[in-house]
Amino acid sequence: MHFQLVGLILWWVGLLLEAVILARMLFTRNFKNYPVFYLYILCVFLISSGLYLLYWKTGNLVVYGKWYWPTQLLTLVIGYGVILDFARRSLAAYPGADRFVRAVGLSIFLCIFSMVVLHLGFTRSWSQEALYSDLEKVLRAVEALFLIGTLSVLSYYGISIGKSLTGIALGMGIYVSASLTLLALTKFIGPRFYPAWELLQSGSYFAALVIWTTALWSDDSTPSPPNSSGPGNYDDLAGRTRADLKSLRDYFGSGARS
């Protein structure tokens, strides 16, 4: 009962925060910067409100549960879009690093996809709920791996991203890693973990919403890369040296004349 009440409060506050993020988007006109992310928030807001209305009208958890998994998969797919968009935007100015992430991401996807197909081929006795739950676990694992790949590349190449993108990655990362861990624990511990799972899952999403609200409160575009590398920049150095040599030549020339 206590768990249910806390879960319900998190649900209400979560809806409120989603509405705040969407309202701020209209105010800051940030939609053009992060369209996929705001589409994700809008979808989650609509689905979450719809599920709440369904729960409130029927008061039946079975009906709610019937709709929960399909809608969860839908938001998960849009969540993929958010992660891909994050990778694309944070590496837009770095074609080398971007190419690296794309290659790693494609390998991860192919690897996990082959594993799932093989698994499906061998075990053909999945119930619908088990199918959704296992599918979510696999898809969360791919999301986590892709985020790990992108963040590792950002860290390795020392790439700086703006406050908003950092916030999007932090929120998404916390939610994805919590979901992945909790799904694995649910499978391992069994039904007695369900109440704690619901609460922790909602809690991690609530934490993500708080981070997103803070990070996207004001407009903040990704910083431009530090001094671009390559011969162009070396030319600057050469130009400055040439100017210094010219002033030296002038100095010595005037000295010789006087």
Binding site: P95, I148, G158, S160, L170, I174, L185, N233
Partner: protein, 194 residues
């Protein structure tokens, strides 16, 4: 149990990277002209001063110790060993520091290149990481067991460092432009053409 452990490992790895992302302060400007010049200096130091085969052979040649042991009393031998240990530690610290500069240059440089080979990048990252670990290990070995304790590891460090120098040399090749040599050639011995 294994899927649970894998999921936990993934979750923890992601948390760790997010923590690093959140804690990261301002990234220093990379890929600047100053970095090119600094990397060129590191490459020069490694190739000409720290990694030449005869220098490494000289520094870690046991025959020096045998000679001192045969010709001088025990306290001179001890003094020789202390000095050689100090030089070995300085050598490995210097190699590590120059390699770090090269690595920083490489990372700042290659992230802009759209035609990088992913496999080469992974191999280079592994080489840099392995070399930095080997250098730390050598430092500890020299400190605790003396300069002659790990000759194979010294060879391995020198070989990896030389390989990384070759790769970096290609990236810095444009600094050896023929025009620069032509300018140098105009200067008579003992004076400079301005």
């Amino acid at each position: 149990m294994i899927p649970l452990l894998l999921s936990l490992a993934l979750g923890l790895a992601l948390f760790f990277l997010l923590y690093r992302l959140a804690r990261r302060s301002r990234v220093p400007a990379e890929g600047s002209a100053y970095q090119f010049v600094e990397a060129r200096g590191s490459l020069h130091a490694l190739q000409r001063e720290l990694l030449p085969r005869d220098f490494i052979d000289r520094l870690f040649d046991r025959r020096d110790l045998e000679f001192v042991s045969a010709q001088a009393p025990a306290d001179v031998r001890q003094l020789f060993l202390t000095e050689r240990k100090r030089i070995s530690i300085l050598w490995v610290q210097r190699v590590r520091s120059e390699i770090l500069k090269l690595m920083q240059f490489h990372r700042g440089h290659s992230r802009f290149h759209s035609k990088i080979s992913v496999l080469t990048e992974i191999r280079l990252a592994a080489d840099f990481a392995a070399l930095l670990i080997i250098c730390r290990m050598l430092e500890a070995i020299f400190y605790f067991r003396g300069p002659y304790a790990a000759p194979h590891l010294v060879d391995s460090a020198a070989a990896t460092a030389a390989r990384l120098c070759t790769v970096s040399e290609k990236s810095l090749a444009f600094l050896n432009a023929p025009a620069l040599r032509a300018v140098a050639g105009e200067s008579p011995r003992g004076s400079a053409t301005i």
